[in-house]
Amino acid sequence: MSKNLRINKNNFIDQTIRISFKFNGQKLFGFKGDTLASALLANDIHLVGRSFKYHRPRGIMTCGSEEPNAIVQIGNDPSSTEPNVRATEIELYEGLEAYSQNCWPSVNFDIGGINNFLSPLLPAGFYYKTFMWPASFWEKYEFFIRHSAGLGKSPTKPDTDLYDHQYAHCDVLIIGGGISGILSAKLAAEKGLNTILIDDKNCLGGSTIYQEDDCFKINNDYSNKWLKKEIDNFKNYPNLLIKKRTSLAAFHGYNYLLAKENLTDHLGANERKNKIRQRLWKIRAKKVVIATGSIERPLIFNNNDRPGILLSSSIKKYIDFFGVKNGNEISLFTNNDSAYETAISLNKSGVKVNTIIDIRENSTSSLVKKIQKIGINILWGHTIVNTNGYKRIKSINVQKLSANGESVVGKRIKINCDCLGMSGGWTPMVHLFTQSGGKLKFKDKDYIFIPDMNKSPSDQISVGSCNGNFELDDLISNTIKNIKIFLDLDKTIYDNLNVVCSKESEKRNIWLLPSDKPLSKTKPFLDFQNDSTAKDVKLALREGFKSIEHVKRYTTTGMGTDQGKLSNMHALGIIADTTGTNMGDLGTTTFRPPFTPLTFGSIVGRNVGEFFDHTRKTAIHDWHVENNAKFENVGQWKRAWYFPKNNETMFQAVQRESKAARDGAGILDASTLGKIDIQGTDASEFLNRVYTNAWSKLAIGKCRYGLMLNEDGMVYDDGVTTRLGENHYIMTTTTGGAANVLSKLEDYLQTEWPELDVYLTTVTDQYSTISICGPRSKNIVKKIIPDLDLSDVNFPHMSFKNSKIDNVNCRIMRISFTGEHSYEINIQSNYAKDVWIKCMEAGKEFNITPYGTETMHLLRAEKGFIITGQDTDGTLTPSDLQMDWIIGKKKYDFIGKRSLYRSDTIREDRKQLVGLLTEDPLEVLEEGAQLVEDINKKPVEMLGHVTSSYFSPNLKKSIALAVVRSGKKLKGKRLIVPMENKNINVTITDTVFYDKENKRLNA
């Protein structure tokens, strides 16, 4: 069935290396150097996909990143399959498997094609208008719409490929390896600048490298031959780094750019193993040269989307670069001279060019003269009014344009062809310039937006056709002139180049070409991927959309994977014509990065799996693992959560641990608590200012609990601080708050109180903390440190002693977060695991029980101690927490003090912390559950919510903490916790449930 459309001449394809690949299951062959698109075209396959909305058959239309139609699914492995790959960009490799998208059951017979015949019912905004009501049905509609929509399929398994990130710094970055990029790179390298040149293709030289014609000469040589010599000469510049297969994705401020380098996507499966697939370059360039070239425009006429209709310049590239002819009878449709270049190339390769349809009345350039000499038929002042052929173009209907270009006149001419090239002029690729923050200006003469260099946001320049220089002589002379200024060069090796090229003299631009039928009966496609037509844009304008950003979203023009690279300009042109606006005033839609899609893999790089985030482990972590601990994440820390024994559930383990800690002894790894070493002659004054309570009178060797507020008066963090010496304290913070507390304190010290002599050092990792609590804790510590006087008189609660364990210095604090008699051993982390094991051995006879964070939370809840971040949420003052006792009323100032008597903070109906007991003592409330008084009054008034809830094994009943509106006054009041299936009766109580007299601290 397939024919070979390859011709035997060209320097870019290695016809000695045959490559086999599969398209939709069919085995085909191409050559080394082919793209998937060129290999398909060589096999006479144009039809590659179906359009998004109408499921119309679509063929390969371009040869580059602007391709709207030929987007395919690569591979079918669930971990590496890739959707929406442009067939025009992927290089052919042995074993490549590609599939058409958006069609079922096959691209040749697609059931969705019925949408094409329903298209009169599917205008712009169809989905918005139709599925609006009833609103409650949206979920049902969405299911079906989502199933019939969507292009490719995402992989379903984790990506097994390797990706990489690399930083690069350079003097000059040149984006684009076409002729203007090559000239710029040469001049930069010649000056000795550290230069990087990137190009998205595997071959430098852009379109000039295959431009071999008398009409284009540099220094009396064919332009391609001359350029080839320049490129070959690059190897003499060690300061020039060339990156091929690298596409610029984003141009950010301060000349920070992201580029994706493809490293293995062009290799067969065997050659890919253990190699990095893609590398994301993060480039900081002192200067940037944008030489991204331009993209040929299609023409907008009735049924301009059939397979076999390509951009004229793409037909030229396929024949000159890939040696592939796109048909045997080709017609060209143009409004400029470029199509004549294609005609010359085709003629040279022996491909028949039927007719050139030119909307201009005449042209006298050397290119046109050459075609006239060859004898190819040119229809001046004509337009195509329709095309015929469903899965492949068969013929075109042509008519003469009226003088004003708004209608057609005369007889309809039918011309047979199996391929049509269209050329609507050129669009400079200004995407990167605008991404970087640059503003565009409209050049009326050429109907193009070009960079406004006066509004360049950074040290950069655009050269070549992306700056609107389309003719070879202008392009070269302007590039050299501008680069000389940009790089501050006096004389260059290119100062006396002799350039000859064809000059275009006549122009005629019609954004929407007329047909012999009314617009409503035609399909002039603007956005080929999203199936939006000129009709849709006009409809949107009639319906009142004015902003181009709104028209874009309403019609989805330019919103496909190609982001409207082909026809956004036509949409703007049609809007301008219809509304009578100047295009320059209309402006463009916003170009956002990435220029071409990036893989998630390249964005993430190596930061996957265990490298996704830092994991912090305590020095005792390995012991916890060995002893079957379950862990919970607290910030980046792994904290032992509970230690299940013999298949215990979490509830059973926590009940056992909690009971053991109050009956005998419990041991907790508290090393994750933040520790800040505070020194300096003003340390006491500093603590006075940052905590709510008074610190000046704290004796050396004593500990004190402190509450830290934000300036808005809300509780921020808490912890115990110990005075180690006259000018030396150690502060503990919550685990999660450690870093923030340190930076907040640094902020105040550096900016508000620079006069204070205070130095802060974080020592969280340097010290490990082992907390032993329970009535037998004293026995255990006595066994480990026999000479330490543990009597309550000499070592009372809230005091500290320096000591030694096996000659290692340690700090022992008597502080308690459980309400039990407790000791905290702080020791250098290197020794912590040994000391922990020593404690375990010493405690064996007292049934010492390791417990985790869950038991710690339960024990402190029994005592009504808050956990900042669990019982508080940044909206509670100390008074709301019933902790008025901790506010140093005599202190003149501390952080947040003034806010404690703002009109809002003194309200009595603020949410306040209370205890809750359930009517049924076995009923444990859900944390986060709402509290209400009257369930029948609608709307039900929410009074607060449960913040902490546990079953207490020591009290043998359920306990909870909650925040409740005016809670302080509501002691004894009954409230309801409404749950999905039941209402739970609760009573507001005091926040302290266990040992209200604090007798156990000294037990």
């Binding site: 301060y254 300036e711 808005d712 640094e746 100032d893 703002r902």
Partner: protein, 91 residues
């Protein structure tokens, strides 16, 4: 991603820094003598200018020092960098 010239370390990538909001808002020396409105002015009110803005920045992943930056929020151009306590330029 802009580059900030830390007055203590030199030019570094923005990712090393954190922004602390508007600069030159001094904490009142005698908060107790302020009315609710005056205190709220200090506590809550911050400018969000399109254009030249004076900001506090912290070299969080570097020297941990706070300093001031004059930045044009419309294009991220940094016009000046100066230490805490130094007089702001252009103001």
């Amino acid at each position: 991603m802009f580059i900030i010239n830390c007055p203590y370390c030199g030019e570094r990538d923005q990712s090393e820094f954190s922004c602390g909001g508007e600069a030159h808002i001094e904490r009142p020396k005698q908060p107790t003598e302020l009315s609710d409105d005056q205190w709220a002015e200090y506590l809550f009110m911050r400018k969000n200018i399109k254009g030249i803005q004076f900001e506090r920045w912290n070299h969080a992943h570097g020297c941990r020092k706070w300093f001031n930056v004059v930045r044009d929020t419309s294009n991220d151009k940094i016009h000046a960098v100066y230490k805490m306590g130094e007089r702001p330029p252009l103001k």
